[in-house]
């Protein structure tokens, strides 16, 4: 698995909001079921001293880290404050930020990612479901019941479509090492390229599914760099140009980033591309 394990302590920012509180409970339920540490502290400025599902809340990440051993944060703060929260995480010395928040202005994301990079902090997202390594750690909002531990890595720009394909893999007996949603925004921290590099160093992972969609060229860039066998699925072959398909980043602009040409370029690199989600397990079986 990559990015963390049972021993990883998590800090949730935006802990006292509806989403933050709800998912603290789910993350810790999962941690408890597998013997992991889970969420050790929450942060909401001005709410120090409160508790959320038994987790103590602090005013700042720095305050939380004085009392707890943590290496990653999971963000549920509102969009206008999310860039700030990413930078606060990086400044406090965390090595990973998982930004669940949607609708962050792109410039905020770009600045926060630059700042995080200067502090050796990796950013997953924004606008993502986080990651889940079955039996090890859940950082985010993925529904754990669909997952099973195994040797397939999954990297996706989507949320529910990831669950769909994970479900197909699990039903086909193909467990997962780490499943990671990198986010549906045009600018995201960890890209297919970055995550594939980590997977290729991970002895548990034998092959990786990359789930892409219309917009940009991150899938092709990732595939080009991959040093581990990969299979791809690209959503949006029926998407019309210049229309935003739900995700801020899912748009075919200036004739670039359409699904058909992405698929063609991937196939030209020798990457097997599934035409439907249900085809993914068979293509994986062919590889390993």
């Amino acid at each position: 698995m990559i990015f963390g394990d049972k021993k990883t302590g998590l800090i949730v920012t935006g802990a006292t909001g509806n989403q933050g509180a709800f998912h603290i409970a789910l993350m810790n339920e999962y941690a408890k079921s597998i013997g992991g540490r889970g969420v050790v502290a929450g942060v909401t400025p001005g709410k120090a001293g409160q508790e959320v599902h038994g987790v103590p809340v602090y005013n700042s990440i720095r305050d939380a880290m004085k009392e707890h051993d943590a290496s990653a944060s999971v963000l549920f703060v509102p969009a206008f404050a999310a860039g700030d929260s990413i930078m606060e995480s990086a400044s406090a010395g965390l090595s990973l930020v998982v930004a669940i928040t949607e609708h962050i202005p792109v410039h905020d994301t770009m600045k926060a990612i630059s700042y995080a990079k200067m502090n050796d902090c990796a950013v997953i997202g924004p606008n993502c479901p986080g990651l889940l390594s079955p039996g090890e750690v859940k950082m985010g909002i993925m529904p754990a019941q669909l997952f099973k531990r195994g040797h397939i890595g999954v990297i996706s720009r989507s949320g529910t479509l990831t669950y769909e394909i994970v479900d197909e893999l699990t039903r086909a007996g193909l467990g997962q090492s780490t499943v990671i949603g990198i986010g549906g925004d045009p600018v995201i921290g960890q890209t297919f390229t970055d995550v594939l590099a980590r997977f290729s160093e991970d002895h548990e992972t034998k092959a990786v599914v990359i789930i892409g969609e219309v917009g940009g060229a991150l899938e092709e860039e990732g595939a080009k760099s991959a040093e581990i066998p990969i299979v791809a699925y690209i959503a949006g072959i029926s998407a019309p140009p210049e229309k935003r398909m739900g995700h801020a980043g899912a748009i075919i602009e200036g004739g670039e980033g359409d699904a058909r040409s992405k698929i063609e370029r991937l196939k030209a690199m020798g990457v097997p591309v599934a035409s439907r989600p249900s085809e993914v397990p068979r293509l994986i079986h062919n590889l390993i």
């Binding site: 202005p105 630059s114 993925m142 989507s158 600018v187 060229a217 998407a239 935003r244 439907r276």
Partner: protein
Amino acid sequence: MKILEYEAKRVLGESGIKIPKSVLIRSPEELGAQLPSLPENLVLKAQVDVGGRGKAGGILMADKAVAVETAKDLFSREIKHIPVKEVLVEEQLEITHEYYLSIAVDRSTKHSLLLFADAGGVEIEKVAKENPDAVRRASLPLIMHDVPQFMVRDLLGNAPKELGPVINQLYHVFQEKDALLAEINPLVTTPAGVMAADAKLIVDDNALKRQGITVNRDLTDREREAERHGFSYVELDGTIGVIGNGAGLTMSTLDLIEYYGGRAANFLDVGGGAEQERVMNAVRLVASVPSVKAIVVNLLGGITRCDEVAKGIISAGITQPVIVRLAGTNEAEGRKLLSDKGYQMPDTMEQVVKVAVEMTR
């Protein structure tokens, strides 16, 4: 969101970039009143948000004497089906050379991407293909306050130095306006100095609020309804209505419909935590599209409450068949509610799509 040319130019003007002398008119009569203050040779530009505006007849040249007549002509036109409501009347420039300058968000580097080309007024993609050496690029992290001078020199190459300041001015516009793209094409040299002859500014939709921009888009009634409910909605031209949760899953459902030979009528992402009323509104909205003969509902997720979804579908009370794929909490209750009412509930999204395609064939 793309800002219209005259607004984009006003923004550039405020930042110190020279723009042509101009007036904005909303009727030919308004031009009559403004004529005395304008120079002899004019260009009239329809303020419509379409690409290829010039080729589509949206830009007309006129001398002062016939300008009002020309304006009447332009206001009577539709440019790619969009009626002309505003016209920017500008002085014709004495152009000695045209260049291209843009700053954009680069997904790959996560920095701003600056592009400068020795040829302007044409599509930059075309220039890049035909004469790659004429296009120079630079990548600049957005945390940098200014464009460093070495980068300005690299971008300009042998182009006149007087163009240099515009690069920093445009970069500041890009930063201050939360732009996804700030483009001057063409950037021109004239005897009166360097000017932005055309301008394009796309502002990040997620920053409209802090930019104080109120959106006044031409939406259809259904698009407006979707926006009110907070749905991501795109209308297409098929017969199968689609409701999903999550952009990727919904897109994938559309693709499967195409794969099995059907045609989707829309993309509708209801978002997370779909409860009864939300689902009901989504089903009614999609059912209101006249061409929709069947509706596919594809909802998957740990926190989706299937009983809520089932109640939402049932309470929508529509005439078209709804084929449902449900997975999540309270799945058994949800399934029972729907099966009691005779709804079809295949197990997988693929089966759901197949049933809908058969029905609408």
